[in-house]
Symmetry: D2
């Protein structure tokens, strides 16, 4: 039921690279990501803060931008392998009748702004300014020791169509979620792990969350404890828990603007082409919880809009079993 | 507001020792404690299963007894230091007009059955058959590598009176929970850590939970994963989370009979007499959650009865903020 | 000083895949890899045992073969991306005047045996029989929970020439070790981490070690403890320690035939082409130890021969500071 | 073969409490203990620095004193339970003809200086100024997150006599090391774990090491990495490794003055009187290494003198198998 993957795609996207987020208070958000998540500030000005994970050699995997208005997501960024892949990408997007525009972005090589068919704002580049990897500078560690940006999860009004689009760019599904023959979630990768881009059916395009890898599971607790100590106890939005698809341990935190960041441990290696994607059969997303309570309605429905993007609702909105519904059913059963 | 502690008590209780539980299906319960919690079977018959933690030299810290009727808690056991402490205990309980009876218990030295003023069934002994500590026999590890029984939590209809009783036996509070001048929770110890016996205000006497220590925090996740894999995913009753009082990481599991076992990491050392108990001010227990959602009503109210003990309700039943109430308030706020 | 890398190589090797080892006692070796390393047996016959790591979907990353004679390494295997890459590889090796032979290997797709210019025995395939990933089947975990084969380290009589050869196949250096303008160690990868193939200057070709990834650092200790408990305490050949190049935590074990297996935690992500390889300046390898003692002479010099391969000594044998030399110098200094 | 223990000792020593060390450079030593070990500075002056572990409520478990001369150990401190125990102690020591002197020590209650029969400098007090436990203040964690002082190891010229002395004070052996009927090591406790005081046969009295507990095993590696990063890579004196007696994971570091600090994970609970001490039969200490190499001669012989104490050699000096001897034997075997 999954779309055909192009194993020799028109250009070579290698990995999820960076996210650019509007924030209402640059300093407060920077502190959140440094003190709780454990990112390192590469560079900071009055309006921009560039951060990276401890094991990243790139200049930034997160750019916080002081917002004057709504705290949107400006772009999610992907790397391409070589500079020539950018030219191929530009040509390809134009051929598809999709937006493609060259832009200048500090600390990045030639950069291309493109959009997928639902208006998801993408940014492609082949290079960034190189920085020192800090993964052994233990004395500089803070927060949950986030190592590197891993993946994005976006909302799409038509998961199959989005999945089909990214399959043409060589993205493959490690796992997927379906109800009957309806695709509800596509967990897609380029870089040889489970995920670079997860696509989930809901009103979109929106950015549901982005994820950083932590090196060991105990740091999930460190993140929660630090969230609590820094006044973000109520921002532990979901978890700690164990994913169905992908199988990672996770916790989701809401940053000061409500952008959702996931911390998860590493996942398995993919790469080999003979391995079939794992199917999760689901009447609703929540049936894939291995233990613990279902996620809240907020977790299922809240996501960050992309700057300037208009959204579309799916033909049928998914109806996952939320914590709220679960509790109400239990109370009704007890009353009944 | 806490009762006076007798620092030279009439006899020397040294630690929480063991729990004796009725179970509906001996084999199923044994498997639960071996495969998920990680206890080791010392000895098993058709009607009894004796288990111990990996670092315990005692013959048993848990005795499962095949039940014909209700799955009650038969006894919670404490050790006294020397055999002569048993005689002093027998004398003291009789002087108080409380039950005290010598019994024969396999693999235990002279054993005394006593009750606190609310009828909590206690068992005291000075010695057990000695077994090999297995904490380095890595090849025999299963489950969450539970190391040793740590503490019990009981319900009392009058926490202050119960606390006063155990204070006379030399138990000290590491921390306590109060609302105004009403004591709601007493976290008491003998053995130099935070806890041997927690007493919480509710209809009692009942056994709310018992706790085993796990050596490292990642084993909290192992316990949850194994619970899920063995069909007990819905039995993860609370957590993983971080305690207010005591500050341990925890997860609570329900065994096949609904007996509640906590797995928690170690706690701080107490011993020194100049350190004051930590007070937690609480309108309700749930306000002490550092991060994550409140516990369910089930967690607050469900507990195992003691065999043959009649229970009493507190003058005022505590009214903690449950997950159910929390969710309903949130839904009402959104609707309103 | 490093050779030029072909970023569009003639065929696409994707990763280190598997190792085929002769062993003197199949059952004993299988037990070693299952009980200490934590591999899972996929299939076993009287003469062959196929094993895989917990997160591997491939049929085998290790094949143990009952030896009648010397316990050599038969082959180290790499995956290519698509079947058509095998044809391209066959053509390319023949053009270079290097051995290339199609062979039939159970549970592998079309398989090609080739050799590098120094006679290192390589095996290429695009596909294997797919097996279930077991990384969440906690109840089946044994040993140190090895997740997946990560890399090989081989001896080459001319590291630069070997590095140049693999660079033409698209292998890139994450890090390298040099003394002046002499390349002593090349740490090369294809799969987006630090390593698929490490090449170190010494009499070769030989297989110095292969490495499996463990998911968390505490499992380094688990491996050592299990080695001790199973009678292999003296087989802890080096470590636990922290690498200079790559920065991983490691321990090296010798299996019953003296084949050396490394267990290490994960490494950083590479992929991006603008990042320069890290240079380690070294009079000898041992100067890169961050803490702890130098490795023994045995660790530096002992390696497994490839089946039927004749070896060549380097023009100049490296002279690393061994533990033996270090201790003798210290004793001499004290005596002097 | 072990001395008789007095289970109702003349006064109640409860635990190892603190160590007072001369250091050549107060600031450098403080940095070592804060940045690598992870202690917290409670108070610092130009001549004294008081530190405590993260979970300690006491004012100090370590006092660094700026030395003008040799970097000796001034005292090792023990707690007694109640103030009245101090009076009983004073009386008892005087009855034995041993030094006993009341002194004033800042941040301590009434304090008694005493000596054991070999001149080991002891300091007893019942109380200290109480400080906040910081074990959940994750944002303040540094180094290896040392939680609390655990034990001291001293050299004695006659282990049996020392053991007999402390047995009269209620210290019990959890484990011991003997060769035939010669006691070489006594691992003694008061507080319900394995150790408060280890006594090893060598020229003494000297302070061989003191130990802090780390909460999880991965912090052993953190300590090593930080030692390396801060220029103390060569100060990793032994380990990481696994103890024979006690079974803890350990690493030993040398501080800037050569005082030896051990970091180890927690140990098993003792308390119960029916459990016999574990005997380790040993021709030499080093035979009890479970895996890894023997300790160096420096580890066996180097220890910190007590201020002003004259030392005595044992009748027979122990002759453990050192790393140096082990290597020389191996080289001789290869040469022969």
């Amino acid at each position: 039921m999954l779309p055909v993957v192009d194993f020799r795609p028109p250009f070579n996207i290698t990995r999820a690279s960076h996210i650019v987020l509007h924030v209402a208070d640059l300093r407060r958000s920077r502190d959140f990501y440094v003190k709780i998540v454990g990112l390192v500030v590469t560079e900071e000005t009055g309006t921009h803060c560039h951060l990276r994970g401890l094991s990243e050699a790139c200049h930034h995997s997160m750019v916080l931008v002081q917002a004057s208005g709504e705290a949107t997501c400006k772009r999610i960024g992907f790397r391409v392998y070589l500079d020539e892949d950018l030219d191929a990408a530009c040509k390809w997007f134009k051929e598809q009748g999709l937006p493609a525009e060259w832009v200048q972005v500090p600390h990045q090589g030639r950069t291309l702004h493109v959009e997928d068919p639902f208006g998801t704002k993408l940014e492609l580049c082949a290079h960034m300014t190189v920085c020192e990897r800090l993964f052994l500078q233990v004395e500089r560690f803070t927060g949950a020791h986030a190592q590197r940006l891993d993946h994005f999860q976006i909302f799409s009004p038509d998961t199959w169509k989005s999945c089909e689009f990214y399959s043409r760019l060589g993205f493959r599904n490690s796992e997927y979620l379906a109800h009957g023959d309806k695709l509800l979630g596509a967990f897609m990768y380029r870089k040889g792990t489970c995920l670079d881009l997860a696509i989930v059916e809901s009103e979109g395009p929106k950015m549901h969350h982005f994820a950083y890898i932590i090196p060991e599971s105990h740091l999930i607790f460190t993140a929660c404890d630090l969230a609590g100590n820094h006044g973000y106890g109520a921002s532990v939005d979901r978890g700690p828990g164990r994913h169905g698809p992908g199988g990672m341990l996770y916790v989701y935190l809401l940053d000061p603007d409500g952008h959702r960041v996931e911390l998860c441990d590493g996942h398995y290696q993919t790469i080999d082409t003979e391995v079939e994607p794992v199917r999760w059969d689901a009447a609703s997303l929540s049936t894939n919880v291995r233990w613990g309570l279902p996620a809240t309605a907020h977790w299922y429905s809240h996501a960050t809009p992309f700057e300037g993007a208009s959204t579309t609702r799916p033909a049928t909105m998914p109806n996952p079993l939320t914590l709220e519904t679960y509790i109400q059913r239990q109370l009704a059963a007890q009353a009944g």
